[in-house]
């Protein structure tokens, strides 16, 4: 990967990676650090990483860094602490999406990550498996469980409303 391609990957994928990490961690500083760390690692290996694989390489590196950090710190900030609007260019949530993101926040880490990769980035089960290091069947199971949880959450909220 050339320097130009590397810089292009910054333009193309840093927002996506930041969103993914931020959605998981709910910590802007941590998310920023992980994105920066991922790109530092990418530049260090830019001669080995081909441009067509760079997005999944970044997500894989960012995901592992995030999980390592979570395991070290064993902490999660509250969803309410995140000011998505500070980084947003448009009005973000409809009511349903607000509810849905609250529900996603209740998911276990593994389920949350795979469903975010699936819905935000449109990755296949195989690609998600490559990024997360899970088996393809595990990814499928996590997504199915996550969907059931989200459906139940939405259903309960609609019943209340």
């Amino acid at each position: 990967m050339t320097r130009r391609e590397y810089n292009q990957s910054v333009d193309l994928y840093s927002d996506h990676l930041f969103r993914f990490i931020l959605s998981n961690l709910k910590d802007e500083d941590k998310a920023k650090d992980i994105v920066q760390e991922s790109y530092v690692k990418l530049w260090a290996k830019h001669n080995e990483v081909s441009y067509d694989k760079v997005k999944s390489w970044l997500f894989s590196t960012g995901y592992r860094t995030m999980i390592d950090g979570l395991r070290r710190e064993k902490r999660q900030a509250a969803f309410s602490e995140v000011d998505f609007n500070a980084h947003s260019t448009t009005e973000q949530y409809s009511d349903l999406q607000q509810v849905l993101h609250e529900a996603v926040n209740q998911l276990p880490e593994d389920q949350k990550s795979v469903v975010l990769l699936r819905d935000y980035e449109g990755y296949s089960y195989k690609e998600i498996a490559d990024i997360t290091g899970l088996s393809e069947s595990q990814v499928k199971v996590y997504i199915f469980r996550a969907r059931k949880h989200l459906k139940n959450y939405i259903g309960s909220m609609e019943a209340v409303l």
């Binding site: 320097r3 130009r4 590397y6 810089n7 910054v10 333009d11 840093s14 927002d15 990676l17 930041f18 969103r19 931020l22 920023k32 994105v35 920066q36 790109y39 530049w43 998505f84 980084h87 947003s88 260019t89 448009t90 973000q92 949530y93 409809s94 349903l96 999406q97 849905l100 993101h101 996603v104 469903v115 975010l116 699936r118 819905d119 935000y120 997504i143 199915f144 969907r147 059931k148 989200l150 459906k151 939405i154 259903g155 609609e158």
Partner: protein, 335 residues
């Protein structure tokens, strides 16, 4: 396995019927049986000890297959995920058309797809690798020196002090552009003009390689004032040499034996000759002391700010830094 004999023939019989003997061992077994015919009956009995798979079939396969069918809920999730084959999707839709409760569930599942939110990473610039590396060590010192001298003039007096800061910035920019070591044309001392507009005209003419207007004689310094080289000029000269060859030891020329000719003065040098002449005093010992220290002292005297110029070289890297007041530039480069 050892040779067959009366103590181990049972093992051979069993292995024979299970198909574990080699051709050589089978030959040995047959030879053994011919020599011990009374064992044929026992040998044949082993045949019956081997269990054969029953040729029976289970007729409840369909029932089992029904049990393995994916639940409607899983089919609904599969549909949301886009994982269903066309015929499976049609079957599901038929089922939902006949089952309102499942249809309501399916509607909820369809809402579980997250819509990507737009998030912008605000530090892209920091991530990028310098597409164009500015050789700071080459330009930092002359540009900083030029800027500091110009600011000094604006702060300390002269005909330009009435101009607003915007014009001052333009002048600094003009001088900084003009004072690049490789491109400086000393024949165009734009700074002798009294207004920025005039300087811009000269500068533009210079950039277009046109002949610049001649400098009005009345605005030049009186020749008598340049009999000896001012320390400011020396500092600029040292800086110039330092920039051209940063890793070579700069040399400060003796101001008496190496006077700088007026017609070769750069704009910065012109400034330095027009500012307060009190700063033009030079100690004899200064010329022979460490050149970078001389440069620091000169800049400090001219600007009234602390100046520091350092240069380090190790086996692995080279580092230059320039500091003037709060302004600081440094650059590290791998050897």
């Amino acid at each position: 396995m050892t040779d067959i004999n009366k103590n181990n023939y049972e093992a051979f019989f069993l292995d024979y019927h299970e198909g574990h003997l080699s051709p050589k061992q089978r030959d040995a077994l047959m030879d053994f049986l011919e020599q011990n015919e009374q064992l044929y009956e026992e040998f044949n009995a082993y045949e019956e000890l081997i269990l054969k798979p029953a040729a029976t079939s289970f007729d409840g396969k369909d029932a089992l297959k029904m049990a393995a069918v994916v639940s409607v809920e899983d089919q609904m999730i599969g549909s949301v995920e886009g994982e269903l084959a066309a015929n499976e999707q049609i079957a599901l839709e038929k089922h939902l058309a006949q089952n309102a409760e499942d249809a309501a569930e399916y509607a909820l599942y369809q809402k579980t797809k997250l819509q990507p939110i737009e998030v912008t990473f605000p530090y892209k610039k920091d991530l990028k690798q310098g597409a164009k590396i500015v050789p700071l060590f080459r330009y930092a010192i002359p540009v900083a020196a030029a800027a500091s001298l110009v600011l000094f003039v604006f702060l300390r007096g002269g005909s330009l002090q009435d101009y607003q800061s915007r014009e001052a910035k333009e002048w600094v920019t003009l001088l900084a552009e003009d004072w690049k070591p490789a491109t400086t044309d000393y024949s165009v001392p734009a700074f002798v003009y009294d207004t920025p507009e005039e300087a811009i005209v000269v500068s533009e003419a210079h950039q277009k390689k046109k002949k610049a207007p001649r400098i009005p004689q009345k605005q030049k310094e009186a020749p008598g004032k340049l009999e000896t080289t001012s320390p400011a000029i020396l500092y600029v000269d040292v800086a110039h040499n330092f920039v051209a060859n940063p890793m070579e030891e700069p040399v400060v020329k003796d101001p008496v034996t190496h006077p700088v000719q007026e017609e070769f003065l750069s704009p910065v040098e012109y400034v330095s000759t027009k500012v307060d002449h009190k700063v033009n005093k030079v100690q004899k010992t200064e010329a022979s002391s460490k050149p970078l220290k001389v440069l620091e002292n000169g800049l400090e005297r001219l600007t009234g700010n602390d100046a520091e110029i350092t240069r380090e070289r190790t086996k692995s890297k080279k580092k230059w830094s320039f500091k003037l007041g709060k302004f600081e530039i440094s650059r590290t480069k791998n050897s």
